[in-house]
Symmetry: none
Subunit: 228 residues, 2 copies
Amino acid sequence: MKTILIADDEEHIRELCTLYLEKEGYRVLAAEDGEAALETARARRPDLIVLDVMMPKMDGLEVCRTLRKESEVPILMLTARADDIDRIVGLELGADDYVGKPFHPRELAARVKAILRRAEGESRSTHGVVRAGPLTIDWQRREATVDGEAISLRTKEFDLLRALAEHEGIVMTREQLLERVWGYDFYGETRTVDVHVTQVRRKLGDHGVSIQTVRGVGYKLVVDPAKP
Amino acid sequence: MKTILIADDEEHIRELCTLYLEKEGYRVLAAEDGEAALETARARRPDLIVLDVMMPKMDGLEVCRTLRKESEVPILMLTARADDIDRIVGLELGADDYVGKPFHPRELAARVKAILRRAEGESRSTHGVVRAGPLTIDWQRREATVDGEAISLRTKEFDLLRALAEHEGIVMTREQLLERVWGYDFYGETRTVDVHVTQVRRKLGDHGVSIQTVRGVGYKLVVDPAKP
DNA sequence: CAATCGCTTGACGCGCCCTTCACGTGCGCG
DNA sequence: CGCGCACGTGAAGGGCGCGTCAAGCGATTG
């Protein structure tokens, strides 16, 4: 049986995650701040660690850095800030994956399962690349292609499309997109998202992948199976 | 399992490097001065040796020279002085690579891995040379050429271009470049990178290889496939 | 000791892109 | 069937990221 350590300062998040992860058959440990996380990680040697970035005493980034020097244990970060993401998954911190806040515990459980599977077997074949039908997003090169043809996207457009592509078929609210792409401290209009969606739609063209409006909720990226 | 010998008179540097290298799966030996390094190298026959230039009793340059007469063991030099670099990688000393102090241990680990990979292939053809389209960077001779024509680069410009060329097509942030080229403890402006990029661009000219700005992120080196 | 070189940084200006406003449109619900 | 609300989208403005120049400064060299 695999053991997961989850570190987050909010109790209801720890409880929710524990619930879902135990349902998946994992043993779950919890820590409510960075120092406790580090201690528990060293003492209990979990098979995977979930770290919130924002925590008291020692933040998740610091905990991650410290742990990385000591072991290869897979680490999954929770973050609300899009800015953190590249550093987290990049070489600097060496985390294995991240989940943007707010998240559904089911998604967390899915990622955990995926990471553990990958850690056991091989790894890194799709490093830094997200695919959705004819759409390919390579964020290391920061290039997006549809049907093999490059499309030029501006900063926000790229991040927006990447966020949607990572949740292919899943509806994302404007608030989720704002947090993922703009960061938690963005205080502008939610309608800003709409404008960027329009731009991205125009650039995506008609190649069997599109951003659909879910009226009253948000947007989702869908792949048309009928298209070649 | 490969064995690495690290020689540096500062204990915390030895410890830090040992940590990172062991994490990569190497057995690590340590020596705190030049004579000890030479002794250990002869007795234990490591697969690679990391030498600090400034050491008591016998400096790294001297150790390197001595070892070179006895074996082909790959040697990586650590130096704080930019001036040393030319001699280090030149024919006289024949070190396999260098890392400027201050360096990030992750950087060291990456170079070590690269050298060992190269040493296994025994491919002297790519020894110390990075290619990207018409651009060739021979960092052992510390020469850069475009379309076979040499271009004269200053220290920072050369290291900057090398860093970008080693990640051809991959976006590097200003922070990554600063850490790589300037060292981890550089507390200056990130805009410094921009100025050097401008200089390098000017010297690169228009030969089908260029440094592209990725707005809001950083820079990447791209090769124009259309150019001859 | 003076002269030179290379690195850094401040300043300035340009142009892109983000954001917002405004208005038009169509879907959905009463 | 018509009203209202949610969304699409064009246009404008200005913020700011970046390119570039040049001065200052520490280091090095003759």
